[in-house]
């Protein structure tokens, strides 16, 4: 085996290649749909002033009632009840919620043309004594084939780079459009879901009302107790007795008048 000889072949290709590429962007938005049904009820009787004052104190001290602005809110399964002291009303609110998801999907086909020259080089090897049966001609052919293959690779890389650049450029605009589409779809889906949820909530309004009224009546029982006992003590009543069992408050006292 003698000295190796290298044959270098440079290949050049003038590009005029059209390309097309679909740019696509998807955006998903999630939210929560809430269906509510409300009913306001005046208190069954016009509760006396001292009992109302005591009721406010009872509700403030009760961790199950949350002060929200000028109202008191008590949460129950499937909703809540709101006591409006100023209006002396009880508001029953049945609520149903659900997660909502919507997707915006926008696509656009972009096209372009590869132009300019691409160059590549291929190398073939042979030996002076044609060792291995490889002649200079064989090496030259091999070099040409490698140069052609390198040209193909370079051309594909140029096309890929052009598509990537177009994808990035156009994609930024499509994201905005996909976001708008997703927001609009979410709004529509939420409205549709809320109509269903309101129907669900309506079927639960009676149950929520029972729970809410029970909670309110328990608080009112404490308010009556506190107000009446305060009255009795202020009048120096005798024989004061107060028992509470199973939601029933019994109070007795005697007054000398």
């Amino acid at each position: 085996m003698c000295n190796p000889r290298r044959v270098r072949v440079r290949a050049t290709r003038q590009l005029a290649q059209a390309w097309e590429h679909e740019v696509r962007r998807q955006v998903t938005r999630t939210g929560q749909a809430v269906g509510e049904v409300r009913v306001r009820e005046p208190l069954g009787s016009s509760v006396g002033g001292p009992a109302l004052t005591a009721l406010a104190a009872v509700l403030r001290a009760d961790p199950e009632w949350e002060r929200v602005g000028e109202t008191f809110v008590h949460r129950v399964d499937g909703g809540h009840v709101i006591y409006h002291p100023a209006a002396r009303e009880l508001e029953i609110v049945a609520t149903a919620t659900a997660d909502v998801e919507a997707t915006g999907d926008v696509a656009r086909t972009v096209s372009g043309e590869l132009t300019g020259d691409v160059e590549a080089e291929g190398v073939g090897v042979y030996y002076d004594d044609n060792w291995g049966g490889t002649t200079e001609e064989d090496a030259r052919r091999e070099a040409r084939e490698r140069a052609e293959a390198a040209l193909e690779t370079a051309t594909r890389e140029r096309a890929r780079a052009a598509r990537d650049a177009a994808d990035e450029r156009e994609g930024a605009a499509l994201v905005g459009a996909a976001e708008q589409q997703a927001e609009a779809a979410l709004t529509e889906a939420t409205a549709a879901r809320e109509r269903e949820l309101r129907a669900d909530a309506a079927t639960r309004l009676a149950t929520v009302g029972v729970q809410g009224r029970n909670a309110f009546h328990r608080a009112l029982a404490s308010a009556y107790r506190d107000a009446i006992l305060a009255f009795a003590r202020s009048r120096r009543a005798a024989g004061i007795s107060c028992t509470e069992a199973d939601g029933v408050v019994d109070i007795e006292f005697e007054l000398q008048i």
């Binding site: 069954g44 009787s45 016009s46 509760v47 006396g48 002033g49 001292p50 009992a51 009224r213 029970n214 309110f216 009546h217 328990r218 009112l220 029982a221 009556y224 107790r225 107000a227 009446i228 009255f231 009795a232 009543a237 024989g239 199973d246 939601g247 029933v248 408050v249 019994d250 109070i251 007795e252 006292f253 005697e254 007054l255 000398q256 008048i257």
Partner: protein, 87 residues
């Protein structure tokens, strides 16, 4: 004169079941006996309810929705006069 106040509230129903101001006696012959009874009944009622309707119970009658009086209490009631506060 002395009066006995009895109050019962049921949180399950949300109703004042009993609110009775019962005359225990003392000066039935006083000219302002009824007026004093009415005044104290109104005073107590005001704690629980605004503009309460106050009804006089005739001797021997049982308060509506109140617990049933025992035979002894029933007998005592003949000589008493009650004021009952209705919702």
């Amino acid at each position: 004169m002395r009066v006995k106040v009895r109050f019962r509230y049921n949180a399950d129903t949300g109703e004042v079941e009993t609110f009775v101001v019962e005359d225990l006696g003392g000066d039935e012959r006083a000219v302002d006996h009824d007026a004093r009874h009415d005044r104290v009944t109104a005073d107590v009622a005001r704690v629980v309810e605004r503009d309460a309707l106050i009804e006089e119970m005739l001797p021997g009658s049982a308060p509506i929705r109140a617990e049933r009086p025992t035979p002894d209490a029933d007998a005592d009631a003949v000589d008493r006069e009650d004021r009952r506060v209705s919702e």
